[in-house]
Amino acid sequence: MRCAAARRRLSEWLDGDLRPSEAGAVFAHVEACPACARVAGELRAVAALVSELPRVEAVDSVAQAVLTGLEVETRGPGLGFLFRRKGAARPFMVASLVPAALVLATVLAAALALDSDGSPRASGGHDRWPALSASGTENNPLFPSAEVGMPLENDAGRPAADAFLSGPGEGALFLETVVARDGTVARVTVLGGDAAGTQPLLDALRRQTFEPVRYRGRPVAVSVYRLISRHEVLAGPTIAGS
């Protein structure tokens, strides 16, 4: 065997992939030819150098990243739904539907609990959760907003308020007034401040009347919050002279 023929077979010879007769011929040539023996040794060294490369591992678990990716992909329809193959398995589909189903059930239950005119349906014996009054009633008033106007007050309570404001001492009262659907005051509640000595004011505010507020064509009760502050103004010292 010549050197060229032997060199073409060296790689297979080193791997033991030659037939015995060929392997024997290459072996005989390498034994007799120092140049080919040197090349064979170098090829063996190349294989050893590559096989000694240390194995590389991912620092973080690839499995976790892949599962997270799959979860995002299968969480819901989204845009990915348009590109997913028909019939592709979605392992997290059922699990991810549970919270969505709960939200949907809650919304449906809330919708069914209210009549179209706002009065509550029977709540089916759920005594621990007393039925909430319909919105816009005295027990569940609305708040002024872009759609619900602020009730316009008549002057009935003004003198009492003026009397309170002109009284001695300092202080502030934070009050909630619920204006009923007919414009009268359903209740006045002191939410903050010192309520002592304010009874005349509260009585006067309870006698107030307002222009009834309407929301979507029906009269509604509205909460009005007021902060009434009283400051004692003292005269400063007289500047003598000049």
């Binding site: 294989a47 590389v56 620092v59």
Partner: protein, 210 residues
């Protein structure tokens, strides 16, 4: 039989029967089974991609894509080849695509060989030798760096057969199955790859012969 009862551990040979059970459970959308499948093969995938691309970060990205593709195409897996062979094939294809993607964009990406050689960043070297002296460790890293640089100068096809053969320990027939080429093609590529790398690593090779 639950997946937990299948004697599957990373690095151990997986019997075809156990593999079939695992694949069936994955097809039915069992996330635990798929996590097991990924855990069994992620070491092999990350190492192969790292050696083919020379970049641990890229290797990790490729590994994620490989398993996402495996998951999506499990329905097409016919079981004629072993699951491992099939995953090798997906890994080689994904690595090749990633390489071409960079080349198309003429992106002269500085390959973070330092991270790969030192086991930093997204990579960790499985067989670092704590008993080696600092001098030995430095020499070992330098040798690994030069071998990896030499590998990256080979064509992708030559690099692939060499890594599958010498690093992953596959036979020529197995490599032929992974690459879907004839065994003779694998042998000729292997011979040319070794010859090319011999030329690239002249000093190291002579040192290795002594």
């Amino acid at each position: 039989m639950g997946v937990g009862e299948i004697p599957l551990e990373a690095g151990r040979a997986v019997t075809r029967a156990a593999e079939r059970v695992l694949v069936d459970r994955c097809r039915r959308g069992d996330p635990e089974a798929f996590a097991r499948l990924v855990a069994l093969h992620e070491g092999m995938v990350v190492n192969l991609a790292a050696r083919l691309l020379g970049d641990p970060e890229e290797a990790r990205d490729v590994a994620q894509n490989v398993f996402l593709q495996v998951y999506r195409r499990l329905g097409q897996f016919e079981g004629r080849a072993s699951l491992r062979t099939w995953i090798y094939r997906v890994t080689v294809n994904q690595s090749h695509n990633r390489r071409r993607w960079w080349q198309r964009r003429r992106h002269d990406k500085e390959l973070p060989l330092d991270d790969l050689v030192a086991g930093r960043g997204a990579a960790r070297l499985a067989d670092s030798r704590p008993e080696a002296s600092p001098f030995q460790e430095t020499r070992r890293r330098e040798r690994a760096r030069r071998v990896q640089e030499g590998l990256l100068r080979l064509s992708f096809d030559h690099r692939t057969v060499l890594v599958l053969r010498e690093v992953e320990g596959l036979s020529c027939d197995e490599i032929a199955g992974v690459l879907d080429v004839a065994p003779g093609t694998v042998k000729s590529r292997l011979a040319r790859a070794r010859e090319s790398l011999r030329g690239e690593l002249t000093g190291l090779v002579e040192e290795g012969r002594r």
